[in-house]
């Protein structure tokens, strides 16, 4: 064939991403492994938030009841943190490349009003992740690092003897501030996923509709579509 092959758009498509014709078109967005990781991370984070908040403020101490009392809450919380840390960082290595910042991210950010107002038509075509998703990804990464490091320092049962009390005071303060922030990021993440209808199924079924991809991550869709024409994508 001598036909000129048009360049394949760069939409940060990852292994396992694919489009399937149909009505509507379905697009594979997350493999089962990624979804498993996500939900382990999500569940851990929720449990950590509940147990952490219980110890953060007396008004929420009642939440320790969910864990079988204060002693259990204190005992489980750091272990859940370890689970979160491990699952998140597997997740991290699966996703980090697609979350590297790009020029379009800045344009997207400048047009945040159009984002919130659902004026996609005014926004640039985006790859697999928009700047908001990338923000969530990177802030989660940073905060989890802070939380695990500071958390280990104040893990009374095993690790406190390795740091001085003044260091532990810094750690506990950092831990609580990071926790507040990660809960906010978490709320943003959940809200965005719900507000942007059609998103949740990416993490439940692993697929989105073609229309969802066209609307929000058109460059990514174009890449997948183009790859499909060029050769077997799978």
């Amino acid at each position: 064939m001598s036909a000129v092959v048009p360049p394949i758009p760069q939409g940060n498509a990852q292994k396992g991403d694919a489009v399937h014709p149909g009505s509507p078109v379905t697009v594979n967005r997350y493999t089962p492994m990624k979804r498993l990781n996500h939900w382990i991370t999500a569940a851990s984070l929720i449990l950590l938030a509940l147990s952490g908040l219980a110890l953060f403020t007396p008004s929420l101490f009642f939440l320790t009841g969910l864990f079988g009392g204060g002693q259990n809450t204190r005992a489980f919380h750091p272990w859940i943190g370890v689970v979160l840390f491990l699952s998140f960082f597997i997740f991290f290595f699966q996703l980090w490349k697609a979350n590297l910042p790009e020029r379009t991210d800045w344009i997207w950010l400048r047009k945040i009003k159009d984002v919130v107002g659902s004026h996609e038509e005014n926004l640039p075509e985006l790859g697999k992740y928009n700047a908001g998703q990338k923000f969530i990804f990177w802030s989660m990464t940073a905060l989890i690092l802070v939380l695990i490091v500071s958390g280990v320092m104040i893990w009374e049962q095993y690790f406190t003897q390795y740091t001085s009390i003044p260091v532990r005071r810094i750690a506990v303060l950092a831990h609580s501030i990071a926790a507040v922030l990660i809960i906010c990021v978490f709320i943003l993440h959940v809200y965005a996923a719900i507000w942007t209808r059609g998103t949740l199924r990416a993490m439940t079924r692993g697929t989105v509709t073609g229309g969802w991809a066209w609307r929000h991550h058109r460059k990514w869709l174009r890449e997948l579509a183009a790859r499909r024409k060029v050769g077997p994508a799978e």
């Binding site: 110890l55 104040i154 009390i165 506990v172 906010c184 507000w195 579509a225």
Partner: protein
């Protein structure tokens, strides 16, 4: 409890009552209770008590340590000699008080002074441990000044350790609860002094009302000054609102020489921030984020995929023409 108060210790050396008494203070006398917002105000004010440790009379015999072990029925391990007289080597969940020994050469006289300080909970008027504690009722403060740990309520988080300006609480690795000197609240409640004071052969440890202890200290300080200790004084640090365990020091201008007794102890600003600002601002921010997103979710318009979007996707996959990629400049 009847309304009448049982006799309270009045002097440093009073003989305790020998008849059995009902506990003369309890739950109803709490002035502070950890992680408890709505503590009813106590109906009466108990006479503030204090333990006075006269470092200049202390001979470092460790009778206080044995009395503490015996009374609290703890079981410190038989350790090793580490080249010093401190044994155990530090406070532990089984050793609530510890003689700390410092060999200090007085630069003014070139004479060696063996400074022996009985370490243990200071029972701060403004207790950092209690401030830091997240477990309701795990740390309490009575109106007589005693700060007590209620192990039944303790969750073993170790926040009290970070809250304490004196490095006192210790967490048991066996039951994961915090332990420290209780000022023998169980003995004081029935008119007895703390076990350590009872055992102290030289009355370097005395117990009574805080007022009496300060008066007693004045006499001791005058005596020390007459013996050439010009800087003798009382250690009752204002940074924590004063303490209910006080020291008479021969060199009150240099508390640090007594095994790092803090010069000006206060609750760490980090702890204040953690338990103050961070808590309130954090709750506000999280609350705002949660409420904001709910409100926006209810009243705002969801971002929905349009029919047109699906069609465009189908066209794209089928290879039919679709709107071309927008020039990136378009948005620019």
């Amino acid at each position: 409890m009847s309304g009448t108060m049982a006799e309270q210790p009045r002097t440093a050396v009073s003989n305790p009552p020998v008849r059995a008494l009902a506990a003369n203070f309890g739950e109803q006398d709490l002035v502070r209770r950890s992680a408890t917002g709505s503590l009813p105000a106590p109906q009466r004010q108990l006479t503030p008590v204090a333990k006075l440790i006269d470092v200049s009379k202390c001979i470092g015999c460790k009778a206080c340590q044995s009395a503490c072990i015996e009374w609290n029925d703890t079981d410190p391990a038989v350790g090793v000699n580490a080249g010093v007289y401190e044994n155990p080597h530090d406070l532990t969940d089984q050793m609530y008080t510890l003689m700390r020994f410092t060999e200090w050469v007085n630069p003014e006289t070139s004479n060696l002074e063996w400074l022996i300080r009985k370490d243990g909970c200071m029972h701060c008027a403004d207790p950092g441990c209690l401030k830091a504690c997240p477990a309701p009722g795990a740390i309490v403060q009575y109106t007589n000044g005693i700060v007590d740990f209620i192990q039944a309520n303790c969750i073993g988080c170790g926040y009290c350790v970070k809250g304490c300006p004196f490095n006192i609480p210790r967490i048991s690795q066996a039951d994961h609860r915090a332990y420290k000197c209780t000022l023998c609240s169980d003995r004081v409640a029935v008119g007895q002094g703390p076990a350590c004071a009872k055992a102290c052969p030289t009355q370097a440890i005395v117990f009574g009302t805080k007022e009496d202890m300060k008066k007693h200290a004045d006499g001791r300080i005058a005596d020390l000054k007459s013996r050439g200790f010009a800087n003798a004084g009382l250690y009752d640090p204002p940074g924590v609102g004063g303490t209910h365990v006080m020291y008479v020091l021969h060199h009150a201008d240099k508390p640090g020489i007594y095994s790092d007794l803090p010069e000006n102890p206060r609750i760490s600003p980090l702890v204040e921030t953690w338990k103050g600002m961070t808590k309130y601002v954090g709750l506000a921010v999280m609350g705002f984020a949660a409420v904001g997103s709910i409100v926006h979710g209810i009243f705002g318009r969801a971002n929905r995929v349009a029919r047109e979007d699906e069609e465009n996707a189908e066209k794209l996959v089928d290879g039919r023409p679709v709107p071309p990629p927008a020039s990136e400049e378009r948005a620019g």
